[in-house]
């Protein structure tokens, strides 16, 4: 990165404009995968190039960037991506979820409820929720166009008949705004309810697969399920050994070779915030708590004015 002078946030303005167009289209059609001319980035495909391109395209000099991987600001790839933007864009960075305007993430949604004017950028490996049911892009695009999601429901049904439950624990498919079935990226399904009616803009970038999709603020996002087998956001029934949280997603840490283990918050900022302010230690330290029924979890009421369906011209309100 030291040879020629690169543009602000690495990408040239033409490329950014192309990506922004794709983002705008994605926002206009929630959950729809918009193809875009993904560039080779100076980090490998599969390591966040989609998220990096989206972040590069939306980042302004005043933004405050947070990058997490597995919920943590200090995992190696998060460090690497954060350094990339410090180097190429010179933006301020933070580990605080509350302070960030743009949060790039891999595999987690922060525990703290996001607010308006924040943007959450997901790194997506396989954007197509139907990919493991149908490997062909030509087929899956057709299925989305025709809203033909029977195959997915059959898969979930077969899970229940075999295992007694839906045996998908991460990248759990959701339906966005009653229309498109979408892959939430490989976040644990614990995080799925946070996407529903989220006040922040959620953008998803898949660099290798050349797709961008989005969930606009205050959009209905429903995890696929059945009436008699409602969606359940799984959480290990444990307590964070560091901050005592009982409602956060936990990492399991093996502490010796005799089976000892401990559980700690996967969201390191959440954990540190709780530890540094003991008065708020129990329960909801700025946490959008996750009700066990998996329904809308957003702590804020939904302003009805903002919750108008962008697709209001569609013929009927779809199931789900």
């Amino acid at each position: 990165m030291n040879a020629p002078a690169y543009n602000f946030a690495y990408l040239d303005e033409q490329t950014k404009r192309m990506i922004r167009r794709a983002i705008l289209k994605a926002i206009a059609i929630p959950g729809y995968q918009v193809p875009f001319a993904s560039r080779e980035m100076p980090m490998p495909y599969g390591w966040g190039t989609g998220g990096v391109q989206v972040t590069a395209a939306i980042l302004g000099p005043d933004d405050i960037l947070k990058v997490i991987d597995q919920g943590s600001d200090d995992t190696t790839n998060a460090v690497s991506i954060r350094k990339f933007f410090v180097k190429t864009a010179g933006v301020r960075t933070t580990t605080s979820t509350a302070d960030a305007t743009v949060i790039q993430t891999r595999h987690r949604i922060p525990e703290m409820a996001l607010r308006e004017r924040q943007t959450l950028v997901f790194q997506v490996p396989i954007p197509e929720p139907l990919r493991f049911l149908e490997p062909r892009e030509t087929e899956t695009r057709r299925m989305h166009a025709l809203e033909e999601y029977g195959l997915m429901h059959v898969k979930l049904y077969e899970d229940i008949s075999r295992h007694g439950e839906i045996a998908t624990s991460y990248a759990y498919p959701v339906r966005v705004d009653g229309r498109y079935v979408m892959d939430p990226s490989p976040t644990p399904k614990f995080d799925n309810p946070k996407m529903n009616h989220c006040p922040a803009l959620q953008l998803f970038g898949a660099g290798r697969e050349k797709r961008i999709y989005a969930i606009p603020p205050y959009t209905k996002v429903k995890s696929l399920d059945f009436e008699d087998h409602p969606f359940e956001p799984y959480r290990f029934n444990g307590t964070c050994a560091l901050c005592g949280a009982t409602d956060s997603y936990l990492d399991e840490v093996i502490t010796d070779d005799r089976g000892s283990r401990m559980f700690v918050c996967s969201d390191t900022d959440h954990c540190e915030t709780r530890r540094s302010s003991p008065s708020r230690s129990s329960g909801r330290a700025g946490v959008g708590s996750v009700p066990r029924d998996g329904r809308a979890c957003d702590p804020h009421p939904i302003p009805t004015s903002l919750h108008q369906r962008p697709h209001s011209t569609l013929p009927e309100d779809r199931e789900g």
Partner: protein, 400 residues
């Protein structure tokens, strides 16, 4: 006591410092110069230029040095640089018939205008380790072209310019002396004509690929595609998986002039010369209701001397034309989505190697699921619809 996983930043810096040190290796061994790589590892440079889609020997040599000889890593470096370069426009189609031939062979005709020019090739060498190369080697004798009549072209003084062809027996100029074999066949309509398109060729680095892809996109994808992947696919067509009865109609390697049409000047101006290898395969075609029986083509083109790549590309290109030619699509090499989606080694290596990244969170949720399923397994049997119903096989999705 557990300390939250900290220190990622320092660990990365240390790892990269260590990398720089092992890249250099033993400091008592002289450091490689880019000119040494470019001259003595020329075929590695050719491959990096081809699959990196950037014709620049010096940058490719630099990438190889920086990548410690890992060619896919070098290709990646070149690609990531290339993508930042501004686009001025497209050249006019280059004319490989006007190539300055350094090697040209046809497997379909014993002799042909221009003759067979063996040029620099591993073909017909005995693959015996030459221990003489272990130390400094004496300057080799240079420069012989091999012509169909067995004549040996006079040695040329400069190694990079050997194999200057003899003027053709017909006494034509040098440039006209090497018509493409496929053009000779096309004169009699024995082979399909070379497709002519006025539409600007697509560019998958600027527009995302969609399926079905046009042949222009397919060829671009294959030209950037991994040599090993194309080699295996091409090989599979020879072994019956999508058999297309190929002949190596012609393989030529040499330098071609690149021109660009200058709007202001109103004519094409030369930009420079690139060395390319072109392979045209000739394949059987029995005809259809609308097409007379005649041979069809597969096309391969790569920067530098990259014959294996160009030949494999021609085989795969022809296999991918199955739909267009009304052939059954039964083999992997004929499956456009399969081939084009998996040919790019920069994409492939990134995604395969991303499994090295932490997956604690996903694994944790899988762990929870397996534990719950095991509890259910140990509990009194629940009614199972089928015998082997409790396998986890169909849950096993690719890690992401």
């Amino acid at each position: 006591m557990y300390v939250a996983v900290k220190g990622g930043e320092r660990a990365i810096e240390n790892a990269h410092a260590l990398l720089a040190s092992v890249r250099r290796g033993d400091p008592s061994v002289p450091e490689l110069g880019l000119d040494q790589i470019s001259e003595q590892l020329a075929l590695a440079v050719d491959r990096v230029m081809s699959e990196g889609s950037l014709y620049d020997r010096e940058l490719a040599a630099l990438a190889i040095k920086q990548a410690r000889g890992d060619l896919i890593e070098a290709i990646f470096l070149v690609r990531a640089y290339r993508t930042t370069l501004p686009r001025f426009g497209a050249s006019v189609p280059m004319d490989t018939a006007a190539m300055d031939i350094r090697r040209r062979i046809s497997a379909t005709f014993k002799d042909l205008p221009g003759g067979q020019v063996l040029g620099p090739t591993f073909d017909y060498t005995h693959r015996l380790l030459d221990h003489g190369l272990a130390g400094p080697s004496p300057s080799p004798l240079v420069g012989e072209g091999w012509c169909s009549d067995g004549a040996i072209a006079p040695p040329s003084p400069i190694p990079t310019q050997e194999a200057r062809p003899l003027p053709s027996p017909q006494g034509g100029g040098q440039k006209e002396a090497f018509p493409r074999v496929t053009d000779l066949l096309a004169n009699d309509d024995l082979i399909e004509p070379s497709p002519i398109s006025e539409i600007p060729a697509a560019d998958l680095t600027r527009e995302p690929m969609s399926f079905p892809a046009g042949r222009d996109l397919r060829l671009q994808n294959l030209a950037r595609g991994d040599e090993g992947f194309l080699l295996a696919l091409g090989y599979s067509t020879q072994r019956g998986y999508g058999r297309a009865h190929p002949f190596a109609g012609e393989i030529r390697f040499g330098e071609v002039e690149i021109e660009m049409f200058a709007e202001d000047a109103g004519f094409a101006v030369p930009l420079g010369r690139v060395a390319v290898t072109e392979c045209q395969s000739i394949n059987q075609f029995k005809g259809s209701a609308t097409q007379p029986p005649r041979f069809t083509r597969g096309y391969g083109l790569a920067f530098g001397q990259s014959e294996r790549k160009a030949m494999a590309m021609a085989l795969v290109d022809r296999a991918l034309r199955a739909k267009e030619l009304g052939e059954d699509i039964k083999a992997p090499a004929q499956d456009e989505e399969f081939v084009l989606s998996h040919s790019d080694n920069v994409q492939a290596t990134g995604f395969v190697e991303h499994l090295k990244l932490p997956h604690y969170v996903d694994f944790q949720s899988e762990l929870g699921l397996v534990r719950r399923l095991r509890e259910a397994f140990a509990a009194p049997p629940m009614p199972s619809p089928s015998g082997g119903g409790r396998t986890k096989g169909d849950m096993a999705e690719a890690a992401e």
